[in-house]
Symmetry: D2
Subunit: 393 residues, 4 copies
């Protein structure tokens, strides 16, 4: 039964279309919705809108759901629409009238947002840990490989002397930037949406974002209730940007690994466990992990584009379109965590072929140095450049 | 067991990452892969590379799989990687040596492409039927509503007299364009990829695209085997474009319906079965179907962007990145069919509020007509325009 | 002076913002707008809404503008807003009352669309010629290089024996597909928008799309005037898709050239005229043309997504947002023509390094062939695969 | 003459293609490049690589260029490629051998980056000021309109009572978020790229990012020279995200204004100076400014996606593709500043039609309040909801 059930039957096709994948996606939100509902129940009780025993009954039922969900035993049916309804239905069944009181002072709009933002905060924290691990791994490799010479490339042409340590070290340094962006996103979204109801606040009762903010671990709350709706899509796009920056570095690392593990470059060896074979060519060892890492970046920016395009040209206040931003956000978090995981695996699974790197240090690579030595002897740089250029033409 | 199994164990995380969702997505490809394998087995038999009895054994096993799949009883395990491996493993188990011979003269690359293109052809045909139905429905409504006056809008401002019939008729006419594009996509992709193997043809044996083209219902085949790989992503983006055009019209129709069903416009009434309620506001009837239809367009163009971005900057020949274009294609077909379905439902569920439309025909709407009447009396248009403009300033 | 001047002054900043780059971009549309205006004047005359002498006066003034424009002497001032106004102002000045009559039976909406579609048809025809030339060039090279052995790659790993002819031939074949798509786009957009006025037809007078279609070389016209507005963005996105397919092939060709001209691959030599140097490294010869060709694809798909995103979630009928689709269309045509030009130049400027190609034909490349020979001797393929795989492990 | 001139003539078409619009776009970078060159010259002097008099001569020539540029008298020819070459050529001509020495210890790569990042910092600072002004304007209006009742909408349906002050106040609050993001972007990019040369540092001489960081006002510098190249596109996309968030709010504000200024809603009046007319319909006053603001958002996200797509799948180190990210960045900054400007103009040019707002406060809007009053009397919320819902069904 839906929260807004009005006695007429919905068309089955309409129901399937409007519910979409929500009843599946929402499995991820169940514990967050329960946490938010516990805080909301406590607040209602403090304001004497729930009795102590009603509150206790609701809180223990909500904890029950969290436990069931952990064991994979909590189900959301398509006819429930979403996790929020499934949970309220459970509460009504379990706690009677108390269940019918839990929705006082909130709307599904702010309820969804609260669960979503709690989920996003948790996922951001997870990815921050993963990116830190990636950074440490790259840093370690950078110092391990600091004396392995390798050509530096510009335009895919050998350019100047460099090292394998400098190469992998650039990703370690860049991970700092990504951590800065992930933390900025985390800080931005750390506002309590609960209490904004449908975007216009809670009438009659004195309930707003402040009521539950600290209970839910939010460091602040939305002063203007309509801004909560305005923030949907906005915050998600900022998260997307931070994730896409993480993916961008992995894309470049993966591109390098695929290239460096070709027979022609041969700078990098992949351990067997990281390669796959061909169904027709018995000799092949393919760098599929690296190729898929390269591709995943594009899947993430596609999701970001969906969010940015879908939420535009819509009037202020909630529009159902916003619902379809949920799947992109979840897709991106999943893609990012599995990709950072796999990138660390990949980095740990490669070795540098020092010989191949050395052989690639062809004379041209030292041309700038040569010109600079002429400069030391008093030749203006642009003239020194021309003298050396002639040698290589 | 993988087709390319080489005796060393793959890392479980690596396996999970590389297989991704393929073992789920591929459920859609099972019947197409079986059909392609039947054609391939027949061809091998004609070339004496399979005996009659081997062929018969393979063909009946493949038909078995099709039947099992129809009943939802064919499973692809994550350890199988994809449907192609699951099917070959089934054949080896069932037909012994014949099963080990089926992969002769093909690679998983052309096998995947054959199944995919057969699937795409079928899906395009389905969507063509749906769009035709949408067109017919819009046409019927257009003639039903041909005499219901309604303001024509530019810049969202009342502009000139029009009718509800003209409004909905524009979608009927535009559907013709969409059908043209869908048919063009269908024609473009109607080439047999089988026989191109890994992109460089089949050595030793005389097998190419021609061998199985007519058996598979393809009207032509790829002359250059490498072009098969080049076509991946290209053809999918062309399909995406046609589908996004279908979705664009639905986006506009849905945008109009949401607007026209506001209290302020009130031109359109939605039947109850097409609306949903609010969890907090008892009075609400929301046009969720229309809002979701509006949003789905953006989900589709996001998928199109993924395909276009993911396949670029890659060297010629197969790259594993291409695998990740499969999900976007399936997502788009699913989104498009359910959306056209829902759009027809929506169109059939609205009625025009003739009174509201009539009341909106305010005097300004006839200003151009007025100016034209002055022109009839000899006033140059630009002067007539100014005379009438003064009245409304 | 604007066409809709109402006597109050517009804010200068507002004017600058709303006019934007139109007065610059519209320089490209001047001749097309004149052609459309000539057809419109003739039609008005046939319907006795202009006298013979008025028509002649207008037609010769319009031809004057075309000639001035050719010599770079026709100016559009920012205060004119766009070319359409600049032209009407010129006509009023030159032909007096006849100039004030030219706008009868049309709106700037259909006038813009007519000029734009004529421009797009011309540009499509140009690009079709260029792509044909590209195809012929690739075909010629394909036969020239048909016996130069080169490894075929999958996953960027050497896979099977192939030739330089097969490589470049794949682009020749694919160009056929691109020509099919360009021609389909041309066919789709070949409908006369003039006569639809502001999207709701011409009142009082008997003027519609049929009136000027054949005069303007359109093979058909829009039956539903509102569809003209619906087609804006739609048709432009279809054009964009065809152009992006052309660019996609160039992107892949360029990616290959950059890779093949590395020291490590060395399959391709670039003639000096196609390379640029470095400001610091005297030895460098960089494949900038190829790199920029690779990048331009992304600029084009960015423009395509502007069009697709910008035109969505808008109600039926003209919205000023549509104006901003003009620049992306022009950007894409410019990028595509200069890129096909440069791609042909690049293809003519490379030579194949046969030796390097030959040396890259390492033994593994023949593994499939080897397995197939075992098959010829009766070993089932999957077993033969395993026997050969062992050799290379 | 190019910096890397090697004595052979470049093909004119190749030159035109590779230079592209750089010689135009770079006009914006001239003063920044001069500032960076002054700092670089001072550093070379401190390290005794330039004499005092050589430095003085260079510095005064660079100041000359800045002055010339201010007066619009500094020209970059297409044959100069870009501003960096034009400036070096000027210095050689003016300062002789000193001019030939200025490029010691840097590459065009880090030189471009330094100028670009200085430009971006300045532009970010400008936009931060504009957004602050927008915020203040919205805040002021929010308090002015705080007691004007207006329906709050969800699903574009009247939902709950709200005020015009809450509506516009949501943008003021959201501007805080945008300022946070702009400042985060500013902080992220505030690192000196100069000293990284071509991405692999400066050989022979002791020059790195630290050398010029404080002279240029950068608060830190890149420790890993290769990261400078990795940051290109990354930082620009982060800037793009912040700008697109600014544009998103404006998109929503503009969408509301267009809707609210329809005859049907009528909540908002636009002053005449903000509207434009129609060429055919004398009565029209169109909200073009708002429509164009709505559209510009999409132009900005299109540029963002160019950057994100174009820079992917490229190996580490400089690739010429990166050059094509310059135009998108400049386009976005221009679009954002003119849009914030116009949005402030628009906000100052609207008045609220209090009567129309009041009339739209239909009874349904108070349904939640009504239900809550039942709750006060002891009815559980979900039951109260049903009682009230019946009244409105």
């Amino acid at each position: 039964m839906k929260l807004w059930d009005k006695g007429f039957e919905t068309d089955k096709n309409v129901e399937a279309f409007t519910v979409g994948k929500d009843y599946l996606l929402d499995m991820k939100l169940v514990p967050y919705d329960c946490k938010a509902s516990i805080a909301h129940a406590e607040a209602l009780c403090e304001k004497n809108l729930l009795s102590e025993s009603e509150k206790s009954s609701l809180v223990s039922a909500l904890k029950e759901i969290i436990a069931l969900h952990k064991e994979g035993k909590f189900r959301i049916n398509a006819s429930d629409e979403d996790c929020h309804t499934a949970i309220e239905n459970y509460l009504v069944k379990k706690c009677g009238d108390a269940g019918k009181k839990i929705h006082l002072g909130r709307s599904r709009n702010d309820q969804v947002m609260a669960a979503l933002r709690l989920y996003e905060k948790e996922e951001l924290s997870k990815i921050i840990k993963l990116v830190s691990l990636w950074k440490e791994t790259a840093k370690k490799k950078s110092s391990e490989w600091s004396s392995i010479e390798m050509p530096g490339y510009t335009h895919m042409q050998r350019a100047m002397p460099s090292t394998a340590g400098t190469w992998i070290g650039s990703f370690a340094e860049s991970a700092e930037d990504n951590l800065f962006l992930l933390n900025a996103a985390l800080k931005l979204i750390d506002k309590n949406p609960l209490g904004s109801a449908a975007g216009f606040g809670v009438p009659v009762f004195d309930i707003n974002g402040k009521t539950t903010a600290s209970k839910l671990g939010f460091s602040s709350w939305f002063k203007n209730p309509l801004q909560v709706q305005l923030s949907r899509g906005k915050y998600e796009s900022v998260i997307a940007e931070a994730l896409s920056q993480v993916m961008f570095d992995i894309n470049k690392f993966a591109t390098d690994v695929v290239l460096f593990s070709t027979k022609e470059f041969g700078f990098v060896n992949l351990c067997d466990k990281l390669t796959t074979g061909s169904s027709i060519m018995p000799q092949k060892k393919n760098p599929d992990v690296a190729e898929l890492l390269r591709a995943k970046y594009h899947a993430v920016i596609g999701e970001q584009f969906k969010i940015k395009s879908m939420t535009a040209n819509l009037m202020s206040g909630y529009n159902r379109d916003l619902q379809l931003t949920k799947e992109p956000v979840m897709n991106m978090f999943d893609a990012a965590s599995e990709s950072v995981d796999a990138a660390i695996l990949l980095l740990n699974g490669i070795t540098i072929n020092e010989n191949a790197c050395k052989q690639a240090m062809s004379p041209g690579i030292y041309a700038t140095e040569e010109a600079y030595k002429l400069v030391k002897n008093g030749v203006p740089f642009r003239d020194a450049y021309k003298i050396v250029a002639e040698k290589f033409s």
